[in-house]
Assembly symmetry: C2
């Protein structure tokens, strides 16, 4: 049986991944633009606007891919629109550094989940896979955060320990978002099961998933010189 675009189970999974990615980019546009507005230097403001542009551009490519699968971007993203509402309400950043770190930790966990999801996608869906990979590969925001945070914490050990604490708080909340996502979206759960099939198959999915996400978070905090 040949799947009609937008109706086969493989397409359903791909559209769910596209919806999740689109929601991340919609959120990234808003978050990065708000960060740009309060950036302490015009150089950082310009760089953050450039990253806003990159998120908007990805959104356009996601829309094009959804179109190829016979779906409309608005419909595809709709089930994911509330994903970060609780997270944002629970983690209002108190300073420029907390803002930078919040975006970095949030984007990091989103990227890690995206990386796993595309691993679970049907092998034939190279177009969706490439889209998710492009988002994951763009490290410009990470590079900005590393430069600014390491510079600031080098001269201020109190800031370093405050940000380390903030990072732990953020990753805890981000894992909560992932947990709800997996519960609410069985199609994504299926992809993650497939992606993590080889990792300690006796453990429940969430435990295997959180092990990967926590390890990646620790690696990111290490890069910032902060204790995870």
């Amino acid at each position: 049986m040949t799947a009609t675009p937008g109706t086969g189970p493989a397409d359903t999974a791909a559209l769910a991944v596209l919806g999740l990615l689109a929601n991340s980019d919609l959120a990234a546009v808003t978050r990065l633009a708000a960060d740009a507005e309060v950036a302490p230097s015009v150089v950082d403001r310009i760089e953050l606007c450039r990253l806003v542009g990159a998120a908007a551009e990805r959104l356009g490519r996601i829309e094009a891919r959804a179109g190829e699968l016979g779906a409309d971007l608005a419909d595809v993203v709709a089930p994911f629109l509330g994903t970060f509402t609780d997270f944002d309400a629970r983690t209002p950043p108190g300073s420029w550094w907390e803002r930078l770190l919040k975006a970095h930790v949030g984007f990091g966990v989103e990227d890690d989940v995206a990386r796993l999801l595309v691993r679970g996608l049907d092998d034939g869906d190279e177009a969706t896979r490439a889209l998710a990979q492009a988002a994951v590969d763009d490290d410009r925001h990470g590079a900005l955060v590393v430069a600014r945070v390491t510079e600031a914490t080098a001269a201020d050990p109190v800031l370093a320990s405050r940000l380390a604490l903030w990072g732990r708080r953020l990753v805890g909340e981000a894992l909560g978002v992932v947990q709800r996502l997996v519960t609410d979206h069985p199609e994504l759960r299926g992809l993650l099961e497939r992606a993590l099939a080889d990792a300690s198959p006796d453990q429940p999915l969430q435990q295997r998933l959180f092990a990967v996400l926590t390890a990646e978070h620790t690696r990111r905090m290490d890069r910032l010189g902060l204790t995870a």
Copy 2:
């Protein structure tokens, strides 16, 4: 005498225009992203994010053009960074419609000023002229505002008269921004003098300038079905 990039009077004027345009795009990224966040429909949210992307992309082209003139975008935009601070503080929108109209009136006046400024630029500077023209020619935001406002006011005459009042308030504040801009930036004043040389030369510059800006504002409000 051949002007060295970034040092001749023609380049000084072009860099001032690029700085003003860059500031408009930095502000547009922030404003449109904030509007997208509170858009009542996901379709409008996506469209506004697309327009955020267009503003960010223009910013990249302005940066490239400033580079050709031997200047850095951060230096070029710096003198214009506070341009909208007062305007924004004095005109907090009270509803989705007021938000849409605020952006439309603000972008409209910015576009009208940009159109005049490039008319005053040295004839040889086609690259800067084309950049400003591209911003002016992009009517996607205008089309969105017209569609949404005419739809809403058709069923609600009270909203229509409130928005007409809000439009008058906005254009008054926007003309105040232009007035300060002309006072603070003699290089822009020179371009406007040149652009408006044929229009009632016995009148002071500000009077000729405001006549053009007010006429264009009236035309925009007509298109929205609102009394200017």
